[in-house]
């Protein structure tokens, strides 16, 4: 599973808020671009989270180039819907009339799941887009919103397929579903940290991905893993009269050893509960986090991915 991760066309990165989905999405996109692929890194829903990692502005209308081979796009359900209407309603004047009507705005604001459906639909659309000599993108990495939201997005095509009778919506939903469920083209990569809440949530998400969504799984990323050569209790206490420097050095040591112990505990639980190929990304001590740090993490990930591939080959 791990060794062909970079052969898939669409990688969905999902996970609880604040665990580092954008970091992992950026890491995967850089890895693909380094393999010479034309990569689209797509952020589902609004916000600046990926822009912040990449150091670029939001790109809502058209993909913006981050560097050669890597483009970035923010997908917003509302603009995806008007883009879609542009495809089904070829007459521009009619399209404008629909989009600018009050009824349409009410409908878009209120209609359940429509924006989510359109967001996933847009990813399908980009996947099959042709340009010059073949597909426009070799690979698409999708940075999904926080867990509850991201599974809701991925659930929409199936819900629409179920809810609507034979017709355009159902046919379109089927095409999107075919992409989501195709193990040759798609993989879901969950991200978590090795702490209580994220691990619980990852466990639940894993069950839903397997049982309900039936989406092909890729690699599980465990982000911000602390390590220490000793247990927190083995960090010496400061001798009487020690300088504030020594007190602080030992406090920092206890802090790091403490988090290392917590991470080790939850990593054991995670590996027992979620039987997926797993990559651990170390907690980086850095002044700020951007593309150079993503590349550092990618180095760690590549080593583990080749080990996983070698294990599989045996």
């Amino acid at each position: 599973m791990a060794h062909d991760l970079f052969e898939r066309r669409v990688l969905f990165v999902v996970g609880k808020g604040g665990v580092g989905k954008s970091t992992v999405a950026a890491l995967l996109a850089v890895a693909l671009a380094e393999r010479g692929k034309r990569v689209l890194l797509a952020q589902m829903g609004p916000g600046r989270r990926l822009g912040e990692v990449l150091g670029v502005a939001e790109a809502t209308d058209a993909p913006a180039e981050v560097f050669r081979g890597l483009c970035f796009l923010t997908i917003d359900g509302e603009s995806a819907l008007s883009e879609y209407l542009g495809l089904v309603l070829p007459v521009k004047r009619v399209q404008r009339m629909v989009v600018s009507s009050k009824l349409y705005r009410h409908f878009v604001a209120a209609a359940p799941g429509l924006k989510e459906l359109m967001t996933v639909g847009k990813i399908w659309y980009e996947e099959q887009l042709e340009s010059g000599r073949g597909r426009k993108w070799d690979a698409i990495v999708v940075d999904a919103p926080a867990t509850g939201h991201s599974l809701q997005y991925l659930r929409m095509p199936a819900a629409a397929h179920e809810a609507f009778g034979p017709g355009l919506v159902r046919r379109e939903a089927r095409k999107v579903l075919d992409l989501l469920e195709d193990p040759a083209r798609t993989a879901v990569c969950p991200v978590t940290t090795a702490e209580e809440m994220p691990v619980n949530e990852t466990h639940e998400m894993y069950a839903q991905l397997c049982d309900q969504l039936k989406m092909p799984l890729g690699v599980l990323f465990v982000n911000r893993v602390h390590t220490a050569p000793l247990a927190p209790d083995d960090v010496p206490t400061a001798p009487a009269g020690a300088s504030s420097l020594v007190v602080d050095v030992l406090r920092c040591g206890r802090e790091e050893a403490g988090w290392a112990a917590i991470n080790a505990h939850y990593l054991r639980r995670l590996r027992a509960a979620v039987p997926m190929p797993t990559v651990e990304l170390p907690f980086l001590c850095c002044e700020e986090f951007g593309l150079p740090e993503v590349r550092r993490l990618l180095g760690h990930a590549e080593r583990q991915l080749s080990t996983l591939a070698a294990e599989r080959a045996h």
């Binding site: 509850g148 659930r155 001590c285």
Partner: protein, 426 residues
């Protein structure tokens, strides 16, 4: 410090993006209130199981459950007031909303069995966010509590929470329902077209797209839902009154990482526009910067290359450990992290309205998941105010005192990100 926040308000709403310690902060605030004689309740969303277990309310349900004073006493907390906790169940939020507002049993059943509803109720706009506010109203109206702490859903679209009542009201708006459904039901397409060309056109498209069966389901759904509008509309008035009352305070919980702070900045600006200003900001899991003596560390701060000096200081103090060099390099790494955090927090703080109370909670050596952990937070949230039970805050050593406010200005801003921001503004 945030003591005024609790003293002067009846409702405290913790907001912020996911994974920043909102649940823990909300629980710590409620516990502090209970210690000081308040009848406090914390309404949480999917709390850490260990936290619920630790409070002895493992099976949190739809009703507030009182925390046994004996459980608190075991951790050295003597509450002069009371503490209760309840958990909002994410699943079935809309089912409960329908059950609460449906004008009759028959309508309720019709909605709940509708195929359109069954497939899509998980994704109705803002339903879960709405339920949290709805529950807040129930608690306020019950009059049983004088401190209600709400932990909001970890939404990426942070403002969904405040806009949810309006969005749902709009969704149920009769005018909308009339436009969408009634022409189809009563007078058919001809009438719809005559009434509004756009509507007629859209209906034709909808019909092509969906097939008539699905549209009939949708029509039935909307007409059943329309009966709920009056009850719901009255409710949103109450909600607005509570959210904007002077006795309600919003606290932004955040962390010092770039991505989290970017969202927090956006959030605080929007809150200001909505005229629901923040009455406090909590920074969780902050790494502290060591105030280095320039006599030893020429840069006035500990930087890479200082490992040997730190190592030597440990040896001089007689600290016997085979891991001295790890301790030294870990310390230097932490200083790097702390400097970045300090600069970002300072920048964030400058963007806040003046005099917004602002506290930092350090990155403890463990995750806080029990009553003892919550009391460890109190000192950083509320300052050294004499607690009801002396000695219980002793867990935090003096070395834990945040010092960054006084040290942040010593260092020139050197972050790459600042350079990026500068470029953009030109």
């Amino acid at each position: 410090m945030l003591e005024a926040l609790v003293r002067d308000h009846r409702v405290v709403i913790c907001v912020g993006s996911g994974g920043v310690g909102k649940t823990t902060t909300a629980a710590a605030i409620a516990l502090w209130g209970a210690e000081r004689g308040r009848h406090a309740v914390v309404l949480t969303i999917d709390p850490a199981r260990r936290l619920a277990d630790s409070l002895g309310v493992g099976a949190l349900g739809d009703e507030p459950r009182a925390v046994d004073p004996a459980v608190l006493a075991r951790h050295g907390v003597v509450a002069r007031g009371t503490l209760a906790a309840m958990m909002l169940d994410q699943k079935g939020a809309w089912d409960r909303l329908v059950a609460r507002h449906a004008p009759s049993d028959e309508v309720r059943e019709r909605i709940l069995r509708n195929r359109f509803y069954l497939n899509l109720s998980q994704s109705f706009a803002g339903s879960y966010e709405y339920m949290a506010i709805e529950q807040l109203c129930v608690l306020v109206e019950s009059g049983a509590y004088d401190l209600i702490v709400l932990d909001t859903p970890p939404t990426k679209h942070a403002l969904d929470f405040f806009e949810a009542p309006d969005r749902i009201r709009e969704f149920l708006d009769r005018r909308l329902v009339r436009w969408l459904v009634m022409p189809y039901l009563s007078r058919g397409w001809v009438a719809a077209k005559a009434m509004n060309r756009t509507a007629g056109f859209l209906f034709r498209k909808l019909e092509e797209a969906t097939g008539i069966a699905a549209l009939a389901e949708i029509s039935d759904f909307f007409s059943a839902m329309s009966g709920m509008f009056d009850a719901f509309s009255a409710r949103t008035e109450t909600i607005h009154a509570i959210l904007r009352a002077p006795s309600t305070a919003f606290v932004l919980v955040t962390g010092p990482e770039e991505q989290v702070l970017t969202e927090a900045e956006f959030f605080s600006a929007r809150m200001h526009v909505l005229r629901m200003p923040l009455k406090g900001v909590v920074f969780n899991r902050v790494h502290e910067e060591f105030p280095a003596d320039p006599a030893t560390f020429a840069a006035g701060t500990v930087v890479h290359g200082d490992e040997a000096k730190v190592d030597a200081a440990l040896a001089d103090a007689g600290v016997a450990t085979p891991h001295a060099s790890w301790l030294a390099s870990n310390f230097v790494d932490y200083q790097l992290l702390a400097r970045g955090e300090a600069l970002r927090m300072e920048q964030f703080r400058r963007g806040l309205p003046r005099r917004t109370p602002f506290v930092t909670v350090p990155n403890f050596d463990s995750d806080l998941h029990d009553v003892a952990g919550l009391t460890r937070m109190h000192r950083f949230l509320f300052g050294d105010i004499a607690p009801a039970s002396p000695g219980k805050v002793a867990a935090a050593s003096p070395g834990h005192e945040p010092t960054r406010a006084s040290t942040t200005n010593q260092h020139p801003p050197t972050l790459r990100r600042r350079a990026v921001k500068g470029r953009k503004s030109r």
